[in-house]
Symmetry: C2
DNA sequence: ACCTGAACACCGTTCAAGT
DNA sequence: ACCTGAACACCGTTCAAGT
């Protein structure tokens, strides 16, 4: 997969050349570029879900920094489940920076899109939430996952790929000290946090906020 | 703005014709299509923030369905503030379905991107969260907003624009009863919820979960 | 300073023609 | 059934030339 060059960098001519075939032959297998991307998305999402299920090859989870305030084993189990799925999906989108922008997880016709939604919904039901709360919770979770992943993918793409990670952060944070940022004191106050930030930790922290909210809702 | 045809439907040739000018003259004012889109994004985000500030022309907020479990006026004020900004941004992206996919809110160089981040951050600081919690909270909020908005924009675009809303829902939900969905009992159980769903209510519900998590974190 | 439009270098998609 | 590549209808961008 030569998607290291992004969605736009994948041309049907390039793909045909890579496969040693003619340009038109692609259209025998696939209706167009859109379906090609959809299939690639579905494949990668499917693998992420497999990883979440089998528990192998799973990204190491950052420790949970929030206190859920419950020892109900059913609830804790559901939370662990949701966290595992969310982190597996994020990890996959982190590895393939074009994925997040492309993946319309919920409501997709592709079967793995449905698997995502089902994977989110079942634990929510097990937590004892009402159907309405389950519904809202599931779209909140999927929306959060692709939203944060997309945001971070864009942020990383904007950065100069030649510079080392540390210098990139210094460059951004350096701008924050300029007079342009006089109206944004809060952003400036985040200098230290931004310099030490880690994408997956940040993602997990927000996911845990959502999970905390859901636990509270189940308890209330 | 003829962006009723989406980002791809906006061609520089079409724009030049609309403006009654030559194709090349656009490049005198703007470096390319990318910058043009960035400017349009920034303008609309800016208007949304203005609406959130002035409290006029603001979308009616759905009632909060979660119990925050606090009467700390400073915290409640912060929550109201975050909710107002989030809803104003979502409303704008709901009105302009191409916006969400385009808007890299956080970390954008454009000044209104910074305004978004600052608007989210200040209330979080006022809630008494640690700097680390503020940082994580702000990215979670912005990520959630654009993520859910993007997901819903895609969902609405996929639908047949000729059919009335009710029939569209029936069509989707009808498919859920087919044998293809035998492996997705939870999705099937959401039939009733999906049929009666309302985008902005759904968005607000998830936002409130995040806010509930943040309030708990501040209290803990 | 500001505009013009032909020209260029690409796209995705189609389709008559091959095996 | 499966593949080919020229041809088509578009893009965004550049640039010598105008006023």
């Amino acid at each position: 997969m030569l998607d290291a060059h992004g969605v736009r960098g994948l041309t049907l001519r390039g793909l045909a050349a890579e496969l040693g075939g003619g340009l038109g032959s692609i259209y025998w297998y696939v209706s167009g570029k859109y379906e090609l991307l959809e299939l690639a998305c579905d494949e990668l999402i499917g693998r992420a879900l497999d990883a979440a299920d089998t528990e192998e090859r799973l990204v190491p989870s950052p420790p949970m920094e929030v206190d859920l305030g419950t020892d109900d084993e059913a609830v804790l189990d559901a939370v662990r489940s949701l966290r595992r799925v969310g982190l597996a999906l994020f990890d996959q989108m982190d590895r393939h920076p074009w994925l997040a922008a492309q993946a319309q997880l919920g409501g997709a016709e592709r079967s793995n899109g449905l698997r995502v939604w089902e994977s989110m919904g079942r634990p929510l039901a097990a937590m004892g939430l009402t159907e309405r709360q389950q519904f809202h919770g599931s779209t909140a979770l999927t929306g959060y996952v692709v939203g944060v992943a997309a945001e971070m993918s864009l942020q990383d793409r904007a950065a100069d790929p030649d510079l080392p990670k540390g210098e990139q952060l210094d460059l951004v944070v350096g701008r924050w000290q300029s007079p342009d940022y006089d109206d944004f004191p809060w952003i400036r106050s985040m200098t230290e946090q931004f310099r030490g930030h880690d994408d997956i930790v940040q993602f997990a922290a927000g996911l845990d906020l959502l999970l905390l909210g859901l636990v509270r809702q189940a308890q209330g």
